[in-house]
């Protein structure tokens, strides 16, 4: 039943910076106090566009616009307008007449379907100015955690939020924190908190962006974590390839230290804590928790067996709580707005058990064959279709969607039939992929799924640390097999052999690099078996990618001799007189595709060599 009055409180980032969450809560609380809860509904909306005068509150159906509304105005607003029907003059706002010259962000699908929690400050603050972060309520969560909550209460709040590890493992962070805290007490050894900023997945840049646009959110999260877990020492392990992120984080730490938010006696609470940045050296495997800790200790980044949990014996044998950048960045808001708010977003009911759902939002890097390449944050439970076609704007160039790869080299490729699947930790895993850290690579009809499997296996072969034989040798053999299939030299039985290798690796490898290496192979075989069989049985590459199986050809009916393709060709394979049909020397063609990119007549095509040979 619709309520009599709707109070729309804007929660665009501009108004939020002005305190609109508190305004909305205060209005709801006042309405309840005055017995109006049945008649009044407070709804949080996207940006209304009147940002300069925020926080904005709109009362419908009266169509009254209020601006600059503060928490202390709530009582007056409810009493005068909602109860007595008299709009509050001093808060009134008249929106400008006429059509806006540009569309509102809330009407642009890329923005409309996103919900910023972790990325709440993006585009709004200067990441190199701590005062900007404080201006948007930065470090108020820390103040609350230090002065109004005990460490146990902080821990409890994080547990009840149900937040699961955003690095891809999806392990409930609160449970991990509690284990680390208890291990520290039980063993009498001080724990340590670590931030995993190694982000090795190809195509993933969520953590880089979070640190680049809001480094203090991670710092504040870690200090709060240190309070809950009981430690003075923290590390951020950041990959070698992120210089800008590292610079900004370094500056953020310096500024926090200057203000006494890191170091001794933080905010006068008696708590000591500081963070050190440790830089990786380019190894994907150092994103794995035990390899990361080995590297942190100054040893070679090699994993170890994990039946001894790092949360009890980790860095230098101390209880170690390792969380991903995005997980840490969520913590200040969980403390400020509460576990209940966090758990109200997402899927499932995590009030009793965090494994029952996926609460909160997730940041994804949307890349590949997609119109709107970028960084997005969406509530858990949104469908892949909405992400790819609404937010992503669909596939460019008139091409057709073929697959979406999630979870990096540990994930799988999902086909069109999976598009209506809701995105959360468990549904993605059940479908044969995984959430992973958030890389989402979209593929179209010009992608070859065999080539994709080969690409990821090649990546993992390079990145394997080599410590355990099943991974080191399993990957090398898988790669050789995959390359043979891609080159048109596959044999019947190769698919079974690959599946066997994959199954062996799943059972026997020491760490997740090896055990999950099977996923790209197995998911492409399961979902795109026809492409595999085309490569093996027919020597064809339907996507037109595998170089040994395709050939470039100039269409005699379309080429008008414009000569545009001649210069870009690195092998000087194209010859011809201007305005006459050009010729392609196949012995010089490297199939790089430079000519196709410049041809405006669509006169150069990829053809299957097997067809060509058959026709000849």
């Amino acid at each position: 039943m619709a309520k009599r009055v709707e109070v729309l409180a804007c929660t665009g980032t501009g108004c939020v910076a002005g305190g609109s969450y508190d305004v909305a809560s205060a209005i709801a609380a006042e309405a309840q106090k005055k017995g109006l809860s049945d008649e009044v509904q407070v709804i949080r909306t996207g940006c209304q566009g009147f940002c300069a005068r925020g926080p904005i509150v709109i009362v419908q159906p009266d169509n009254i616009f209020y601006c600059g509304v503060e928490k202390k105005d709530a009582a007056l607003l409810v009493e005068e307008h909602l109860l007595k029907g008299r709009p509050v003059k001093k808060l009134l706002y008249t929106p400008p007449e006429g059509k806006a010259p540009v569309p509102a962000l809330k009407d642009i699908p890329f923005f409309a379907k996103q919900r910023l929690v972790v990325l709440r400050n993006r585009g709004l603050i200067d990441p190199e100015k701590i005062d900007d972060y404080i201006a948007v309520d930065g470090y108020t969560a820390l103040a609350k955690a230090l002065t109004e909550m005990t460490p146990e209460q902080v821990l409890d709040e994080v547990k009840r939020s149900g937040i699961r590890g955003r690095g891809g493992g999806g392990f409930p962070a609160g449970v991990k924190w509690e284990s680390a805290r208890n291990a520290g007490i039980h063993r009498g050894v001080e724990p340590v908190v670590v931030c995993n900023a190694d982000e090795g997945d190809p195509g993933a840049f969520m953590d880089r962006s979070i640190i680049e646009c809001d480094p203090h959110s991670v710092v504040e999260g870690m200090i709060i974590g240190a309070r809950a877990i009981g430690t003075k020492e923290g590390f951020v392990y950041i990959r070698n390839e992120y210089p800008i992120a590292r610079e900004r984080l370094t500056k953020a730490l310096e500024q926090a230290r200057e203000y006494g938010l890191l170091g001794k006696n933080i905010l006068g609470s008696g708590m000591d804590f500081d963070i050190k940045i440790v830089q990786g050296a380019g190894a994907f495997v150092c994103g794995e928790s035990t390899a990361l800790m080995a590297s942190l200790e100054g040893n070679v980044g090699e994993p170890r067996a994990k039946y001894i949990h790092t949360v009890e014996f980790g860095y230098k044998n101390r209880p170690t709580n390792l969380n991903n950048v995005e997980t840490w960045a969520n913590i200040p808001l969980i403390i400020n707005r509460g576990a209940k708010w966090f758990a109200s977003m997402g899927t499932g009911d995590v009030s009793e058990n965090p494994w029952n759902g996926s609460s909160g939002t997730k940041v994804f890097s949307l890349v590949g064959k997609i119109n709107n390449t970028g960084l997005i944050e969406v509530p858990m439970g949104i469908s892949l279709r909405e992400i790819i076609f609404d937010i992503g704007g669909g596939i460019p160039g008139g091409h057709k969607f073929k697959a979406v790869q999630t979870g990096g080299p540990s994930g799988g490729c999902l086909p069109e039939s999976s598009l209506d699947m809701s995105v959360d930790f468990d549904t993605l895993t059940e479908a044969g992929s995984m959430m992973g850290s958030g890389g989402m690579i979209v593929m179209d009809d010009e992608t070859c799924m065999v080539d994709i499997a080969r690409y990821f296996i090649e990546f993992l072969t390079d990145e394997s640390c080599g410590k355990c034989t099943p991974c080191r040798e399993g990957l090398r053999q898988s790669l050789a097999l995959l390359q043979r299939v891609a080159d048109g030299k596959g044999k019947p039985g190769d698919i079974d052999l690959l599946q066997g290798l994959a199954s062996m690796m799943q059972d026997c490898c020491l760490c997740a690099l090896g055990t999950s290496a099977a996923n790209p192979v197995l998911s492409t075989i399961q979902n795109f078996r026809d492409e595999w069989e085309a490569h093996i049985n027919e020597r064809r590459c339907p996507g037109g990618v595998c170089k040994e199986l395709i050939q470039f050809a100039i269409d005699a009916e379309k080429c008008d001799g414009c000569h545009a393709c001649v210069r870009p060709c690195p092998g000087e394979a194209i010859t011809g007189e201007v305005k006459k049909l050009h010729a392609l020397d196949l012995t010089k063609c490297t199939k790089c595709g430079a000519c196709i990119e410049v041809c405006k007549r669509d006169a150069i095509h990829k053809v299957q060599r097997s067809d060509w040979r058959a026709a000849a």
Partner: protein, 127 residues
């Protein structure tokens, strides 16, 4: 400023917010140049330099130029957001050293949004 207390945090917040939200009345506009790795690799530093040079040449003193991280739509970088009092912020895309000057002259100084390069107005939605 040394070692803040909780009261200091509130004071810093109030002061910084005045500038950030153009409430202090001193500034006619705030221009945010988005500088994540995506923006920088697409040329955001050149955009920034061109803008700062223009401001210096024209002797403008009431425009705040600041930087921020990636605005999210990486494929349309370099991007900039123009905030003016009494208006929703406008996000500009596909900028270069030339187009940022157009935006500065026509929108910031002239008051008219440059529709060709404007993506949209307003801010994003939070959870």
């Amino acid at each position: 400023m040394p070692r803040v207390t909780i009261e200091d945090l509130k004071k810093i917040k109030d002061k910084a917010k005045q500038t950030m939200t153009l409430r202090s009345g001193d500034a006619r506009a705030r221009i945010i140049i988005h500088m994540g790795t995506c923006g920088i690799s697409a040329g955001a530093r050149e955009v920034m330099s061109a803008l700062l040079k223009e401001i210096e040449t024209k002797g403008t003193t009431d425009v705040i130029v600041t930087t921020s991280g990636c605005a999210g739509l990486c494929s349309r970088e370099p991007m900039a957001t123009v905030e003016m009092p009494d208006q929703a912020p406008v996000k500009y895309v596909d900028l270069d050293a030339g187009t940022i000057l157009k935006v500065f002259r026509e929108h910031v100084m002239g008051g008219k949004v440059v529709a060709d390069h404007a993506l949209g107005s307003g801010w994003e939605t939070t959870g």
